[in-house]
């Protein structure tokens, strides 16, 4: 397997890896998994005043998935909360130069963020 330098960099030092203190105000958690693809991912997102202030993740999976989660987490910080529901996966794939067989895992990462988005809605409701 050849890895793009961006994947290698983010795999070595995954920015955004971790958790947000449980029960903190504005923190939601979203999770997704696919055993057949070998991925589990969980995001903690803190939203304040409609803006994403912090994103942390835990992940079991391949280097591409780790890099993608890290890239997405970084990109979301400072964005409006609705960004959680409209990720540009194509851009992620191209920034990381992902091989096609890894796209399925991107969709699970999206699922986890959508779960955060829904959790946010639920919190608002």
């Amino acid at each position: 397997m050849d890895y793009s330098s961006e994947v290698l960099r983010r795999f070595d030092l995954p920015p955004g890896a971790g958790e947000l203190p449980d029960g903190t105000r504005g923190v939601v958690r979203g999770e997704a998994e696919d055993r057949s693809l070998g991925i589990w991912v969980r995001f903690d997102v803190r939203v304040q005043e409609g803006l994403i202030r912090a994103v942390r993740f835990r992940l079991f999976g391949c280097p591409h998935a780790i890099a993608a989660a890290g890239l997405i987490a970084e990109g979301l910080e400072g964005q409006p909360a609705r960004s959680l529901s409209c990720l540009d996966l194509r851009k992620v794939a191209s920034d990381l130069d992902l091989p096609a067989e890894k796209y399925g895992k991107l969709l699970r990462i999206e699922d986890a963020l959508l779960a955060c988005w829904r959790a946010l809605g639920a919190a608002r409701d």
């Binding site: 397997m1 050849d2 890895y3 290698l8 795999f11 995954p14 890896a17 998994e33 055993r35 070998g38 589990w40 969980r42 835990r58 992940l59 079991f60 999976g61 391949c62 280097p63 780790i66």
Partner: protein
Amino acid sequence: MSERPLYLDNAATTAVDPAVIEAMIACLGSGGRFENPSSAHPGGASARRLVEAARERIAERVNASPGDIVFTSGATESNNLAILGAFDADERPNRHFVTTRIEHHSVLDTARALEARGIDLTYLDCDAEGVVTPQQVLDAVTDATVLVSIMHVNNEIGVIQDIEAIAQICATRQVRLHVDAAQSAGKIPLDLGGWGVDLCSLTAHKAHGPKGIGALYVADDVVLTPQLHGGEQERGLRAGTLATHQIVGMGKTFELARPDRDGPRLANLRDRLWKGLERIDGVRLNGCADRAAPHILNVCFPGIDGESLRLALADIAVSAGSACASDIPEPSHVLSSLGLSDALAQSSLRLSVGRFTEPADTERAVERIGTEVARLRTLAAGAPAWCSN
């Protein structure tokens, strides 16, 4: 950092011993014995004597007669020649082949080629520790069995099969036994004559010799059909100009290969690795501690994605399964045979030590592996149970 690179992949291949390199160089250039060993002139005769001296050394180390040793391009070719050669030489209409599910691909793919020709096959399963019992062989053999092929040391998990007992059973049932001993030389004593093995594949490059040279031991009374046509070299069993430098290199390799001396040293290094890795939470040994070759350690790290584990340790030379595996390896057929799930098979590593491994290397490896496993486990903290099964 100019630390020497960490090489723990000696089951894939080894660095050639300086004494072997020297012996090889002496057969290459104008000043040396470069002539064709089949040539009638004095230079050819001298090269032939070197070839025959190498044959004697190899024979001696495996308790065989020099005349039983046929040089090939490696254990892959030896395995092909032994199996296809034995079947081509047997003209019975119903023929049967017995082997195991944990053989090297060069045996398994040859078995598949036999199957395609309509030959009957029995694949023996191993137990959860990788052991195949003599009783299983006895139960599998029929009157139609032409050949049983069982490896001595498994290249992924290092399990040693009881070839002596299996050979006895084959002798009782008058069935030929082929042994793939690619991983044995220098680590485990080989007593081919004493055990009564009929065919045995050897290679130089797993024991600090050159790649691209091997041999097939063919006991005196075994009839084989050659698989490579075109010359009377090697008793007519293997055509092609003899590669003097390669053969002489293999001779020196076997001369230097001393299980009595090297085996304990390698086992000590392997044990140091295991002592260190054992401390990692959840880690498991793949294979059988009681029947372990001294140079191979196969360890499973549950809860770590295999591809991430490999990339995290990409700078150190260890192996996930066998070296011929492609980038994202199929889960190893050997680990699957032990009953490991695909995920556990993928999160296993093979570490293999050699003559040039130092105790300090084992410590560095343990540290690096420990660090990366911890890092990836932290990253995956909270993952569901299936990630560790």
